[in-house]
């Protein structure tokens, strides 16, 4: 029984391993169909000289308009008695060749323009982009016609026309990405390494843009083939007797009503090629997009998946507002779920502040997010433990009840309010919305309450400011709004995840003071997540030190700071420079590092 259960678990995990780009592509049924179809078409087209098919240009007026399935002419013959199958295969070869070369040429020139324009910026960018805009302002077929009219009809000229018409598409796309990249620090660093502009574009920026170029090409090849066929259909591309899909359709047009089958074969072939390339192109785009690869393809669930092996029995709550027992949260990895939080227990009483301190990767944020099932799932799974709020296990509650706790009984304050506030709504509306989600009040009442909250968090000028947008506020003011939103529904517990890390020291001091005051006024229980011992010393009653997903030491803040027991805590405290310590700090660290090196040896 239990054996089969574990088997099932293992299977689930196997399925959810992070797949390679190729696996992702093949998992996408449509893309896989597209891939095999286009491979088959290309294979047949390339093998044209080897296939036992008649000469595509050999006319035989005696055998005009033979229908499908005629002996020797599987797809019949056209108005000059030429074998349609042979012409179809040779024509496909020509169309593919033209379409692919056109997109390579367009990609080359378009990307070059985009790279230079995005990198140079300013006047160069302006000039080049206005030129591109002019190209784009013409309907593409008119532009192509004009180019062919100047150069004269012919397959090569059609190829040039199609390439030119598609340059703006690449130029615009690549310019957008280049602008973002050319202000990145690694470009500045390369400049200081002595690299010139050309060298920076080719060796620093191009490698980062290349995947986008490939993706854009894969999605445009189909379109280019269609455009080539269009020009040939109009008699401006391939010249008789050369066969290409467009010219075959063009020649068959006059017999459309008497002998429709002549047009059917090339029409279907164009359809198959373009469809399969587009399906494959979409698949390639999805597979190469790193966000989709990381599992974003599946929308995260409302609540983290909970698969607890065993649930610890309830402990006497003892007045604790929040009681966490043996919490374990894992992430799906290549070798099955890897726990990031490994059995964390702590409790938090009303009006108390607990600092959860640790370095990056210690699991402190995952712990905080797990409390209300906010870890993105996939890849997160809560694999054990319980979280009691007012003596009830949150993790056994139905989803809707867990969601009602969020922002209600328990509220979060995050590191950077600019990313958590919606940029297009005023802060007053956003706080009012947070109120109305949990309370049956009217819009005006909610707005009034929002202003009150802004007063409570000492936002200057609360009435006027409530109609301001997030970007109009300073970092400290935005964090005050974040706190106001957390207070919206009179929560019992506030979980603050590095709420002052992004702020300047003077602003940080103000925000900490505010949190302290609110905690006393409202009897809030505060779970404060930070990496800064200085902040913990200032605000927290108790502290728990986390490392590698475990709490290594916990106790009253003053006690832990004065007399740390665990080596890791000692080390952390020793590594924080103290004001007034001056150069003695580095001496101390040096001695510590030497001791550690000796200890290892």
């Amino acid at each position: 029984m239990s054996g089969s259960a574990t088997m099932k678990r293992v299977e689930v995990i196997k399925e959810s391993r992070r797949p390679t780009a190729w696996q992702l592509l093949m998992n996408n049924t449509l893309a896989a169909i597209g891939f095999y179809l286009i491979c088959a078409v290309i294979l047949v087209a390339v093998a044209a000289p080897l296939l036992p098919i008649p000469n595509p240009d050999a006319t035989s007026l005696a055998e005009r308009f033979l229908p499908f399935g005629s002996p020797g002419h599987l797809l019949g013959t056209d108005h000059l008695g030429r074998d349609v199958l042979a012409r179809l295969i040779w024509g496909t070869q020509v169309s593919l060749l033209v379409g692919i070369s056109a997109s390579v040429i367009a990609a080359f020139f378009g990307s070059a323009i985009g790279l230079v324009s995005g990198y140079a910026g300013g006047r160069t960018d302006n000039l080049m982009m206005r030129g591109i805009d002019m190209l784009m302002a013409f309907p593409y077929i008119l532009l192509a016609l004009a180019i062919v009219a100047v150069l004269g009809p012919g397959l090569m000229n059609a190829l040039y026309a199609i390439s030119v018409v598609n340059i703006p598409f690449f130029a615009r796309n690549i310019r957008g990405i280049t602008i973002g990249l050319s202000h990145r620090e690694f470009v500045d660093a390369a400049r200081l390494s002595g690299k010139g502009h050309l060298s920076i574009i080719l060796t620093e920026i191009l490698p980062n843009v290349l995947p986008v170029i490939v993706i854009t090409m894969s999605t445009t090849v189909g379109w280019m083939i269609l455009e080539t066929a269009g020009l040939s259909f109009l008699g401006l591309g391939a010249q008789p007797p050369q066969a290409d899909l467009g010219s075959m359709l063009g020649e068959a047009r006059t017999q459309m009503f008497t002998h429709p089958f002549v047009a059917t074969a090339p029409g279907l072939m164009v359809f198959i090629i373009v469809m399969s390339i587009n399906l494959l192109g979409d698949g390639v785009r999805d597979a190469l997009d790193p966000r989709l690869r990381a599992g974003a393809l599946s929308r995260p669930r409302a609540v983290t998946r909970i698969e607890r092996r065993d649930t610890p029995t309830a402990q006497p709550a003892g007045g604790a507002a929040l009681n966490v027992v043996e919490l374990e949260t894992s992430f799906e990895g290549t070798k099955g779920p890897e726990p990031a939080v490994k059995g964390v227990s702590f409790s938090l009483s009303k009006g108390e502040c607990l600092g959860l301190i640790g370095e990056s990767g210690s699991g402190k944020s995952v712990t905080a997010l797990s409390l209300l099932g906010l870890v993105a799932s996939p890849p997160g799974i809560i694999t054990g433990g319980r979280v009691d709020i007012d003596g009830e296990d949150i993790l056994s509650m139905p989803e809707t009840k867990i969601t009602s706790y969020r922002g209600g009984k328990v509220a979060y304050v995050f590191q950077d309010p600019l990313t958590t506030l919606h940029p297009l709504f005023t802060i007053g509306d956003q706080v009012a919305e947070a109120i109305r989600v949990h309370q049956p009040v009217s819009q005006t009442e909610a707005r009034a309450k929002a202003v009150e909250l802004f007063k409570a968090v000492r936002l200057p000028d609360p009435e006027q400011r409530s109609s301001a947008y997030p970007h109009e506020l300073s970092g400290g003011q935005r964090q005050r709004v974040g706190i106001a939103m957390a207070l919206a529904n009179d929560p019992d517990i506030i979980i603050a995840d590095e709420p002052t890390t992004a702020l300047d020291v003077t602003v940080q001091a103000e925000i900490l003071r505010l949190l302290q005051v609110l905690r006393e006024e409202r009897g809030l229980a505060l779970l404060f997540i930070t990496h800064d011992f200085g902040v913990v010393a200032q605000i927290c009653d108790k502290v728990a030190v986390m490392r590698y997903g475990k709490i290594v030491e916990a106790g009253a803040t003053s006690e832990v700071l004065r007399n740390p027991q665990h080596d890791y805590t000692k080390r952390l405290i020793a590594c924080v420079p103290k004001p007034g310590q001056g150069r003695a700090f580095l001496e101390g660290v040096r001695a510590l590092l030497d001791r550690e090196a000796r200890g290892r040896a």
């Binding site: 690694f186 660093a189 390494s193 002595g194 001091a509 405290i573 020793a574 001056g582 580095l586 660290v589």
Partner: protein
């Protein structure tokens, strides 16, 4: 003795350009009339909050940004002469270490390729010499020798910052501008990198312009400190003096706001 960096009445204004219809765009004075000097072998810290203009000042000193007005001398040479000679002239004398070490390394290049550029372009070393220098540099920043064949994402923040420091050292500069070099790092890693910077300074006889918002860090590594506020240097003095007896109101506020253990 010749000063490593000498900045006189430096001003940098962003915006304020004339628009198509004769108006002017919004103007921001990032650096206002700054005068300071970095002595040879000294560590001068510049502290200030976000938007105080400290990074703009640093970027101008290394030639990544052009000043609106004012004079700068790098190791006795006028800034404008260096600018006329191109980026390489700057790169040989002064190097820059960025705040975010991971962002300052190209994600699609191996560390070896990244480090190769200054050795080849600025120093003009041949293949064998480049290889041996790279090994020395990895030794100097305490990274394993096989670092050169790896990509940036394979390293933690602290390791990436060591690599970024190695890249800056590759040019064998006499002056380094360190723009918040430890702010993005965990405390224990931060302490290690500070010790490393201190050691490298002695070993290679460097002068540091150390930009930071963290007073405690500044105090532990710098000889003198300049406090910037809204683009101006409001106070400048030796580290001990400034921290024990701050004069300007803003400096006082900054010191009293710093969290204490």
């Amino acid at each position: 003795m010749e000063k490593a960096i000498e900045v006189t009445n430096l001003v940098k204004t962003f915006g304020g350009k004339r628009t198509l219809f004769g108006g002017r765009t919004h103007e921001v004075q990032a650096v206002r009339n700054v005068t300071l000097a970095l002595e040879q072998g000294e560590t001068l810290a510049i502290v200030g909050e976000s938007g105080s203009g400290k990074s703009t000042l640093a970027r101008m000193v290394v030639g990544l940004e052009a000043p609106t007005s004012g004079e700068m001398k790098i190791a006795g040479r006028a800034w404008h002469d260096l600018a006329a000679d191109g980026v390489r002239a700057f790169g040989n004398m002064i190097q820059y270490v960025f705040q975010d070490p991971v962002a300052s390394l190209n994600p699609r290049k191996t560390i070896g390729q990244t480090l190769d550029a200054p050795l080849r372009l600025l120093k003009g070393y041949d293949d064998a010499k480049r290889k041996s220098r790279m090994k020395d540099l990895f030794d100097a920043v305490q990274m394993p020798a096989d670092t050169h064949q790896r990509y940036p994402h394979e390293f933690s923040g602290g390791q990436a910052q060591r690599i970024a420091i190695a890249r800056a050292l590759a040019a064998e500069p006499r002056i380094m501008v360190l723009d918040e070099p430890v702010s993005a790092l965990d405390v224990s890693v931060q302490a290690q990198v500070l010790v490393l910077l201190e050691d490298l300074k002695k070993e290679f006889d460097l002068s540091y312009l150390f930009i930071s918002h963290d007073l405690a860090v500044v105090e532990s590594i710098s000889d003198r400190v300049a406090v910037m506020y809204f683009g101006e240097v409001v106070e400048l003095g030796s580290a001990e003096q400034l921290f024990s007896a701050p004069e300007h109101d803003y400096t006082k506020r900054l010191i009293s706001s710093a969290p204490r253990l």
